[in-house]
């Protein structure tokens, strides 16, 4: 009998996960990738299950990716966006969660603007909670699909050098990537203007630089984050053009980097700010493959949490 590797009803972040758990999600995702290559891109694994996409922040791509993933598993999908829900009438997150539970849904996929919201919801409901991004905290499925793509491109994660460039301080994608990559043995460097590097990054296992050429030097891959100028309350960010001049990834900069460096971006891209169009559309860019892989990774996550939760419920009734 094999040991249960995945026992969690929720996926809240990569910080809590072991290397084995991350690898298990990724290897399961490999099997799911095949499903999307079929003529009939659908398996009945979650037939009769209901997945609720609960999005408190506008997000098209993550929501659509989860929706496609759930549908390819034959689950029913309900989308709740903040504009149409009762959130604005002042219902608490816990009440919302309990109401969704009363609808007999099985999985809540939640995007929330407050860090820790997914963890709080998961503590208060018995159904599965998948964190689709909470504040600046974590965005585990994005990091998993980034790592999945890197593994596909480079053959391994152990020992590879990955640089994450952009607003690290306010990035859940950066945090999840740092946890995931370092757990799997990659060497991670983060690169940003000093004011966008939060304290304690080294203790999380990443190296820090504010020199983009240094970050590109010798890197096997670079993950370029979206600059969220629209969120800059304090107007402390550098100007867009200045940012592009100092940190934007261009073909000239890449001349000094490894020839087959992998270029990633979680999207949506600000062309001409984080990277030039030539780079975004160039031979080293895997940005669209990331989108494809996102489906496989999310299918894997939805399947595993649903399965684990069935086991948890079964054990409870057995007691």
């Amino acid at each position: 009998m094999n040991e249960l590797i995945w026992k969690r009803k929720d996926l809240l972040g990569l910080e809590d996960l072991s290397r084995e758990e991350i690898e298990f999600i990724l290897s399961t995702a490999e099997s799911f990738k095949e499903v999307s290559s079929r003529e009939i891109k659908k398996v009945p694994a979650l037939r009769g299950k209901t997945v609720v996409n609960l999005f408190y922040e506008p997000s098209t791509r993550t929501r659509v990716s989860f929706e496609v993933a759930a549908k390819r598993l034959s689950a029913d999908v309900i989308n709740i966006a903040t504009e149409t829900s009762s959130v604005k009438k002042g219902e608490t997150l816990i009440d919302t969660g309990r109401n969704i539970e009363a609808l007999k849904a099985d999985i809540i996929v939640m995007r929330h603007n407050y860090s820790g919201a997914a963890a709080m919801l998961a503590r208060h409901v018995n159904l599965s909670v998948v964190n689709a991004g909470d504040g600046w905290h974590e965005h585990p499925t994005q990091a998993l699909l980034d790592i999945f793509t890197l593994k596909e491109k480079l053959g391994k994660i152990e020992g590879i050098k990955v640089s994450i460039i952009g607003d690290i301080a306010h990035s859940r994608v950066a945090r999840s990537n740092i946890w995931g990559l370092t757990k799997l043995g990659a060497k991670v460097t983060v690169c940003a203007p000093k004011m966008l590097i939060p304290p304690g990054i080294e203790e999380m296992g990443a190296q820090v630089t504010d020199d983009v050429d240094e970050a590109l030097h010798n890197a096997d891959a670079v993950n370029v984050l979206r600059m969220q100028f629209e969120r800059d309350e304090s107007n402390a960010f550098p100007q867009q053009l200045e940012y592009f001049k100092n940190y934007g990834i261009t073909e000239e900069r890449l001349e000094k980097a490894k020839k087959n460096i992998v270029i990633m971006h979680p999207g949506p891209i600000n062309r001409g700010i984080e990277m030039s169009s030539e780079v975004a559309d160039g031979a080293n860019s895997v940005i669209l493959e990331q989108v494809t892989n996102g489906i496989a990774v999310r299918m894997s996550v939805l399947f595993l949490v649903a399965q684990a939760n069935e086991h948890i419920k079964k054990d409870e009734t057995a007691d």
Partner: protein
């Protein structure tokens, strides 16, 4: 009415007393402290194996009344105090209305008269509405009965206004209690700035925002030769600044709260909103500095910073949840568990921090078991353990950071003015 307490280990640092003896109480006052008192009493309490301490004086309590009676009232808060062995509290002025005028203090005094179960002393507001714009009539506040002034919850940002306030409090003989926080530096943070804030993806509150303001306030007070008391010290640098000032002879005192010597920022890592307070839980070296500060006398007092909040205000997203934790019912046991049991403080040292020193700082006739003093005392079983459970709180609010912790030290009797409450 005569009450005789037999064979307890009596701890009274004011009289340098720590021995097993009896206490006789008559007409609400201590009438005799001696071995083998033979007197006919109306009631005798056998305190063998127990310790007898002066009733605790908690100089930092938010009773929430008037204004937020859903969180706490003078009645429920003082009931909670007695349960925790606290017989006197200083009510902080951030009520609605704030305690910034004679009228408002009168309003609170009426509520106290009608419903308080323990002694409630009033802290007036330094500025009108605690807005840091215009000084309250500090002289009038004192005349009406305030024993201290503070804008707690907010700091007086203006140096000039702070100087004025310190002069007035000095001249009036009122202690000024400083909530040391530069809000420009704490920048809407919710947890300690550092690895923890980064891991959690939350805005951080730097230690700088606290200790820079401590440094400013100490400097101003020193210059004006005014006494000053620094509230809820949470970090190493603040302790160091205060230690140096004391060495120079500045009239500075300070307090810390039980959570700062028992918990670190690690406790916040699962977004437990009961671990959210201001200043925030800090790092291990800060906790150690606080403990050493208590041991070496840099920190004069322990106060709960009892800050009750309803579940609605705590059972929400971390960033939206209110700052603050309750503390009246757990502070003595936390102190026994974390400070006495670990050998950091003697029982006598504990009574100084939690009873004698706060009474001295506030210049109130409390905190001793001297003959003739009001018979406020607490009888504690120092070895008995108990589990902190939500259902057992008598405070209206249950937002304790110690829920489900096992603590040592059970309050068996709280006696107020000679009457067992």
């Amino acid at each position: 009415m005569k009450l005789l307490i037999k064979s307890g280990r009596v701890i009274d640092p004011a009289n340098k007393l720590d021995e097993v003896c009896d206490i006789l109480i008559e007409s609400g006052k201590i009438s005799k402290v001696a071995k083998n008192i033979k007197a006919a009493a109306d009631k005798t309490i056998d305190a063998a194996g127990k310790i007898v301490l002066p009733g605790l004086v908690d100089m930092h309590v938010h009773l929430r009344e008037p204004g937020r009676e859903d969180k706490e009232t003078v009645s429920s808060g003082t009931k909670a105090a007695l349960k925790g062995g606290v017989t006197s509290v200083l009510a902080m002025p951030n009520t609605n209305p704030a305690m910034d005028s004679t009228e408002n203090i009168k309003l609170l005094q009426k509520i106290i008269k009608d419903s308080a179960k323990a002694d409630v002393f009033i802290c007036g507001a330094i500025t009108k509405g605690r807005l840091g714009q215009e000084l309250s009539d500090i002289k009038a506040l004192k005349k009406q009965g305030a024993v201290a002034i503070s804008d707690d919850g907010a700091s007086v940002d203006s140096d000039k206004l702070m100087e004025e306030a310190l002069k007035l409090s000095r001249d009036e003989g009122l202690i000024l209690i400083s909530h040391a926080e530069d809000k420009a530096l704490s920048n809407k943070g919710v947890v300690n700035l550092g690895l923890t804030s980064t891991r959690l993806g939350l805005k951080g509150i730097s230690k700088e925002s606290e200790y820079k303001r401590v440094a400013r306030d100490v400097e101003l007070a020193e210059k004006l030769k005014s006494p000053i008391h620094i509230a809820h010290v949470s970090c190493k640098e603040s302790v160091e600044i205060i230690a140096k000032a004391k060495k120079r002879g500045a009239k500075v005192t300070c307090e810390t709260a039980p959570h700062y010597f028992s918990l670190t920022e690690e406790a916040v890592l699962n977004y437990d909103t009961n671990m959210k307070m201001n200043p925030p839980l800090r790092g291990k070296e800060d906790l150690e500095a606080i403990r050493q500060g208590l041991k070496n006398g840099t920190i004069d007092a322990i106060a709960s910073d009892h800050a009750p909040h309803t579940e609605n205000e705590k059972d929400i997203e971390f960033e939206r949840a209110e700052f603050g934790v309750t503390g009246l019912e757990t502070e003595l046991a936390v102190a026994i568990t974390e400070l006495v049991d670990t050998g950091l403080l003697s029982l006598s040292g504990l009574a100084e921090k939690m009873s004698l020193n706060p009474a001295k700082i506030l210049k109130i006739n409390k905190g001793t078991l001297s003959v003739g003093a009001p018979a406020d005392l607490v009888i504690v079983d120092p070895d008995k353990e108990w589990l902190v459970e939500k259902s057992a709180f008598v405070s209206k609010s249950k937002n304790s950071p110690f829920l489900q912790r096992t603590l040592k030290g059970v309050v068996e009797y709280t006696i107020k003015n000679g009457i067992h409450c």
